[in-house]
Assembly symmetry: C2
Homo-oligomer: 472 residues x 2
């Protein structure tokens, strides 16, 4: 591991600093193919923690995992007009297989609506077979011009849930359930605060009726779309001519929804939960919650056993590499963001205590072995809460309620952040704001109240304050 | 679900029957792209059970999960001569991305040796960084001419472990550990017996020094290669010019191994663990271990609660669909191979008992509610053991120790099965046996003794009995 001091500072050059931390903490590395990344074991362990948490929520809702092929026939994508328009600039195409040119080109899934709904149509003919509640964990491919590790890569990992219901209200229930599951994952696991809401018409998913999002504010004041949950209406059912007999025996199009959360979530985590010295992992998602560093060269085995007996149920590791100094190790685990470090030497052993270092506050304290279990449990909880509250405060401090377009422009050209402003919901107006300020509508927050306002840009009547921000 | 009687019999036409059971039990379905399959929730739940079991064994060994890109630059495959020769007929090629023709064609991974070892080379320069112990769960693509659901599909799911060690003995330890982990998975989870051994030179993996396999006998007497574990020697390290400084500071090539188990394992499971009425799932891998069928139209809710209180810790489901008859449900869960069915009616409720049907023996018995927990636990264990012992007996009964080539040919043209016979290890001789009998060497069993024998085909000196069989 390369533990050389960071040459870059998070506050001064976040983009370069971000790449540096991804490499130095051994979360990921550049792959030989442009735009792709290798997720290294330490980064993948974070993805596994996200999978375990979210998969349980998904299963609790009665949604079952399955696997659909990555190859999509070219004409499938063409069936839903908006869908193909949205995705065609980003497609990867397989033209040869087994040494021969293929009769029909195959698309590598950018998302699986088309292949999944084609199968759903085959499997059902009656309302009795609804709802269909299916999810898959898989890789997808979107050919991106500008890539960025975790945040935007040509191939990435995600889960995509695809459900079909007899009625629109049932489908909407599923859409909002997924949004809530994502919010829980971000808040409780990744200690990230954010704003849930609905996308504008121009920002919604290609083929959706309505798209819901969870927007997270990054340290540089830009907004990250952290996941999406789409009310697809009956669009894809109509595109695939999929009807089922309803309770009266009449043919009806099922209502569909899709929702996804990807490895981009790890990018958001890294951006927010870190400082100039490296990562600061929230304990709930940390692959290692407690790192134990015994001073090299001292006989501490029996005392280490006393300590680990107190750590049952926690993810801990003893770093006993005799080739590294204690200082090198402190630095290494600091960069990797382990929430708690225990420093153990002969002195600590003699006094039946440990020196405990807390990554988020950088405070050291002495803890008696007798209190170690309860003290660590308390501190881990405290770090988890502290990181979430810190990000919540940062987001709230950088969310500006704005009623003048001059102020809007000034904020977007300086500190950035979220802006809460009235908007008339005219796409032309939205496009002009983007051209002037680089800010797009992020969402209409779920809890936005109906008010009597005027559009911050054009002055026309506006009923709600929308959230604006510059996209990451 | 289509619960129409099977038109086909397992014993009469196993190939058609197999496809029928895959579709009727809703394990998988044909995808719109030729050679691909959709793994439906019931089939995928079996894969998840395999993942949970095997992933724990992998993690216990200190191997960590990671993710490498699916795209492999064309020239990477060319670096290892045997590797590219073996895989080039099966490759799928991406030629276009983001609307443009790619400068370098990309191969969809048929296996990940090349991309992973390229990265390992970047990450290491000293023996201190060894061993590298990495595994990934992912999809791979091999363009197959003849496909067969689960057993051979163009895209399939697997895990591939790729480790690198300072010495050959350490690498061999890992090779044999993986083989043992696979054997445990087959024996203990899938209740499948098999023979572990080493492949002949002509049957080994493209690029390997030695390939180890676990061979399973199918009901029609054909052999299934159920997984492989490869001693790659230093072949790929040399191909990628990867050296590390050894303990004396001299450059040395690391020793590598790779090992994989795929969704093909589910194909083997279906083939063996089933009868003319459908699947018979071993309880350890069954998504549903106990299906409870209350007689429709009777008020049984409080009695059902008493029953499920006894099933804590088991995977059970109550089938309360009011639109299906009890008989329809019995048939449906029979096809899906649920190990135990509990039939509950007012009669059972009054007498404080259940009618218990056991899928493997098709026996019904009455069990008092008082004994239900212990009785079900006992029966589940018994089914698991019974299925394994049955397959072990079948395999042993169909393994023939043969010393005459006439007898060899006769067996391979009639009952088939495994043949244990002396072979001189000359590839020409092996090729002639295959041409005559369609039988290939399956492996030299791990426990094969050194003997003084003569080759069953050419009569030359032979030191070991090899296992022969026709490949599935």
């Amino acid at each position: 591991m390369d533990t050389k001091k960071f040459v870059l500072s998070k506050s001064k050059d976040i983009a370069s600093w971000y790449n540096d931390i991804v490499l130095k903490a051994e979360l990921a590395d550049y792959a030989p193919v442009k735009g792709c990344m290798v997720i290294r074991p330490y980064g993948y362990a974070i993805w596994e923690a996200i999978q375990i948490y979210l998969d349980q929520l998904i299963k609790n809702k009665g949604v079952k995992n399955a696997y659909f092929p990555m190859f999509i026939p070219e004409d499938f994508l063409n069936k839903e007009k908006e869908h193909v328009k949205g995705f065609s600039p980003e497609l990867a195409v397989v033209t040869h297989g087994g040494g021969q040119k293929l009769k029909e080109k195959l698309i590598l899934r950018p998302t699986s609506e088309t292949v999944m709904y084609y199968m759903y149509q085959k499997w059902t003919n009656s309302w009795r077979q609804l709802p269909i509640l299916i999810n898959q964990w898989c890789n997808v491919v979107r050919w991106e011009k500008r890539t960025y590790m975790f945040l935007r890569t040509t191939e990435f990992l995600w889960q995509e849930g695809h459900c079909a219901h007899l009625t629109h209200p049932e489908s909407m229930d599923q859409v909002l359930w997924a949004l809530d599951a994502y919010q829980k994952t971000y808040n409780n696991l990744l200690a990230l605060y954010g704003i849930a809401g609905v996308k504008s018409e121009s920002e919604k998913f290609a083929g959706a009726g309505k798209s819901y999002t969870f927007e997270i504010l990054m340290p540089n004041g830009k907004a990250l779309q952290a996941c999406t949950s789409h009310d697809l209406g009956q669009n894809f059912a109509k595109a695939f001519d999929w009807t089922v007999a309803d309770k009266d025996g009449k043919n009806t199009y099922p209502w569909q929804n899709s929702w996804g959360l990807s490895t981009r979530s790890i990018g958001g985590l890294i951006m927010v939960q870190s400082d100039d010295d490296g990562l600061i992992l929230p304990p709930n998602v940390a692959p290692i919650q407690v790192i134990i560093v015994p001073i090299p060269g001292q006989k501490l085995d029996s005392y280490l056993k006393n300590i680990t007996d107190k750590l049952v149920g926690l993810r801990y590791l003893i770093d006993q590499d005799e080739n590294e100094t204690a200082g090198f190790k402190f630095n290494k685990w600091e960069i990797k963001g382990v929430p708690i470090r225990l420093e153990i030497g002969q002195k600590e052993a003699n006094q039946n205590q440990v020196t405990l270092y807390r990554r988020d506050t950088k405070q050291k304290q002495t803890v008696s072995l007798d209190n170690l279990s309860s003290e660590i449990e308390k501190i881990l909880k405290d770090i988890q809460t502290n990181l979430f509250e810190k990000h919540k405060k940062f987001t709230q401090d950088n969310t500006h309620t704005v009623d003048s377009y001059d102020q809007f422009k000034k904020i977007m050209s300086t500190t950035k952040g979220f802006i809460s402003a009235f908007w008339c919901q005219d796409p032309t107006c939205e496009a002009q704001i983007k051209a002037d300020t680089k800010a797009t509508t992020r969402c209409l927050p779920i809890d936005a109240k109906k008010e009597n306002g005027v559009c911050v840009h054009c002055g026309k009547t506006a009923s709600h304050r929308w959230l604006f921000g510059q996209s990451y």
